[in-house]
């Protein structure tokens, strides 16, 4: 089997690459910096004796996606599944953020993913598409508003393609993530423990044959989100200092 991993160079993407490679799947790995991709490709090929293609793709740029990824139709036809372990954040993501930066966030976290996933669906009637959202997408807050909004849009998009593909053989899966042990959360003081990317990547691999799956990771976020959803927004607004 051949899997395309968008955002493979670090964090969850890197771990997913190793998990799928260990299980003897060939990979097409994409990220912004070819240096990271070359290192990952060489390591995986040497250790697991599988084939890895490395494509330098800037997910915030439509031109880069078209030129470096989608124009390679032969490669796309070979793909059995796409994983999008990608997320872009800005330290200064707050209301009033520059429009270019908002666009970058929207492209990286939502529209480029939708663009690539839709292209895949148009080529194939069989396979798997895995998206990764964020618990921040469940409630608009003062922190990271555009990141949260893009992740909410992404979840909505995955629900849509799940409806659209319920009768064919494309599996749609969506993982809503809390804090993980990656550089994005490194050094942050968080009350709840961070989720292991290794464990998550194993879960993703194990679930790959399920038709439709929505999954919270770490699991306790399911309960937290459930509580947030049943509390009226006006009450949440009043306790906003708690939710910062």
């Amino acid at each position: 089997m051949n899997y395309l991993i968008i955002g493979a160079s670090s964090g969850l993407g890197r771990e997913l690459s190793y998990t799928f490679a260990k299980n003897k799947n060939n990979l097409i790995i994409c990220a912004r910096d070819i240096r990271d991709l070359k290192a990952l490709k060489s390591d995986i090929e040497n250790k697991f004796k599988i084939e890895v293609n490395a494509l330098e793709v800037d997910i915030t740029s439509k031109e880069s996606i078209e030129k470096n990824l989608l124009k390679n139709q032969e490669l796309l036809k070979e793909i059995d599944g796409i994983l999008f372990p990608i997320g872009m954040m800005f330290e200064n993501d707050e209301v009033g953020l520059d429009i270019e930066k908002i666009n970058q966030l929207m492209h990286a976290n939502f529209s480029s993913i939708a663009f690539i996933a839709s292209s895949f669906i148009s080529y194939k009637n069989k396979g798997i598409i895995v998206g990764f959202g964020s618990v921040s997408g469940y409630l608009g807050r003062e922190l990271n508003p555009y990141y949260a909004a893009s992740k909410r849009a992404l979840e909505s998009y995955f629900e849509t393609i799940a409806f659209q593909n319920k009768k064919n053989q494309i599996n749609i899966q969506f993982y809503t993530l809390g804090y993980l042990e990656t550089n994005l959360s490194f050094g942050k003081k968080i009350i709840l423990p961070k989720g292991s990317v290794k464990k998550l990547s194993q879960i993703v691999y194990k679930n790959k044959n399920i038709k439709f799956k929505k999954y919270f990771f770490p699991f306790w976020w399911r309960l937290i989100i459930f509580v947030i959803k049943i509390i009226p927004f006006s009450i949440i607004l009043k306790s906003s200092s708690f939710l910062k």
Partner: protein, 441 residues
């Protein structure tokens, strides 16, 4: 700090002598190394932080932890060459290369040490008498320097910086990847031949007689009894085949258990030495041992270090030139009679090479002592320092965190040359650690 990608933590050196709050950053992309370095005034790189002395941090310094840079970048079986990222641990390298019957012979005694760290300290393994130090296996280095950017270092390219970097304690920049020349290793286990020895003179004589190509040889001696000072065993280790594959070395399971007091004292040292020597007496002269047990003797014996308690220990490793060995050992024996230091480990091995810059390298005998960290032992070690100056003996600065600038300058004849070359390369002296500040490098 300009960004959020750091964690403020307290680090302690492995010997427990120094601890400090630092800002830890864990790059996992090449551009992170560039960004994190450019954002910091002073920084230093950390591999596994297993150096006995504090080489990879300093008070409130920015520390780049290269754990995520642990990949194989290139492997050429025909040329017997491998390029790996510097955060790769020794066991990760061996787990891969041993599949092809290849290895680097200069392996420090613990498999969880990073290769970048081994290069920065110019590590010497058990067979340094025949194989020299790790320097002999290094072909190329990729270095990142905050102001100079990416630099390829080798004997052909940027040779001066290459020489400063191997054994340069990480002060020239971040070692990002290393190309090693591998050696064939077709063996799967080791034959250990034990010989009882009765004095330090006996030890040294036997070490030299039995030192042969492709064998490792070292001694274990006791130092708690002035009458039997140096009594112990010589271990001659010969690689052999048994048809089985070498089993994969597993990652370390961290054990944070701490002992609140030092359990080593005159009584426990004596008892444990007696038990160990009895145990060796009862064993057959020749035994077969697994690869892991021989190459990494400290695996599974980590509690030895924990027994020193919160104050830690002092390891003194001395490179004694052959021509003054007898006189030097005589002086040590006398000093031991006077000071009665509490020594938990005393060992000899042969070492070879050429001493330049900061490298613990040269032709002679390497003597290792582990001491309890107390006032009496510090007094004893001050006397040893003076002996080192008098006899041109080299103390290891990466092992012994007591060494001060005065001792360092007098024992390392090229200390000033290293300083001059380093300042010429990096006038802002970006990369700093506790040791570079203590020794004014």
């Amino acid at each position: 700090m300009k960004d959020n990608y750091f964690k403020q933590i307290r680090l302690k050196s492995f010997d427990g002598s120094y601890s400090s709050d630092i800002f830890l950053k864990k790059p996992d992309k090449y551009r992170d190394i560039e960004k994190f370095s450019k954002d910091s005034q002073n920084l230093i790189t950390m591999g596994s932080n297993y150096s006995y002395a504090p080489l990879s941090f300093y008070r409130e310094s920015v520390v780049l932890d290269l754990k995520k840079f642990n990949r194989i970048l290139n492997f050429n079986n025909k040329k017997k060459e491998i390029t790996v990222e510097a955060g790769m641990k020794i066991f990760e390298l061996l787990n891969f290369t041993l599949n092809y019957n290849l290895w680097i012979p200069q392996l420090p005694g613990y498999p969880y040490i990073s290769l970048g760290g081994a290069v920065a300290t110019n590590a010497h393994g058990k067979s340094c008498g025949t194989h020299g130090t790790i320097r002999k296996s290094i072909k190329k280095i990729l270095l990142f320097h905050k102001n100079h950017g990416w630099l390829n270092l080798s004997n052909e390219e940027n040779k001066e910086i290459f020489d400063l970097t191997v054994g340069g304690l990480g002060l020239t920049g971040t070692i990002v990847s290393i190309t090693f020349n591998l050696k064939e290793f077709n063996f799967t286990e080791f034959l250990i031949i034990k010989n009882k020895i009765y004095s330090i003179e006996d030890s040294v004589k036997n070490l030299k007689i039995q030192n042969e190509e492709n064998t490792f040889i070292y001694s274990w001696n006791i130092a708690d009894d002035s009458k039997n000072f140096g009594k112990g065993y010589i271990f001659k280790i010969i690689p052999k085949k048994n048809g089985e594959k070498i089993s994969k070395i597993e990652n370390l399971k961290t054990n944070n258990f701490k002992i609140p007091v030092c359990l080593w004292n005159r009584f426990t040292i004596k008892i444990l030495n007696k038990i160990y020597i009895k145990f060796l007496d009862l064993q057959k002269k020749e035994t077969n041992e697994k690869f892991l047990n021989v190459i990494f003797p400290f695996v599974g014996k980590e509690s030895y270090f924990k027994l020193f308690g919160p104050r830690g220990f002092i390891e003194s490793q001395l490179l004694v030139p052959n021509n003054i060995l007898g006189d030097f050992l005589g002086e040590i024996k006398n000093l031991c009679k006077i000071h009665k230091p509490l020594i938990t480990l005393f060992s000899f091995k042969i070492i070879s090479g050429e001493q330049t810059l900061l490298r613990f390298e040269g032709d002679g005998v390497c003597i290792t002592f582990d001491f309890i960290n107390n006032k009496e032992n510090h007094e004893f070690l001050k006397e040893i320092d003076q002996l080192c100056i008098r006899y041109n003996v080299l103390p290891s600065i990466s092992k012994d965190s007591r060494i001060n600038k005065n001792i360092f300058d007098k024992c390392y004849t090229e200390a000033e040359i290293f300083r001059e070359k380093l300042i010429k390369f990096d006038k802002n002296r970006v990369y700093q650690s506790e040791i570079s500040n203590r020794l004014k490098i």
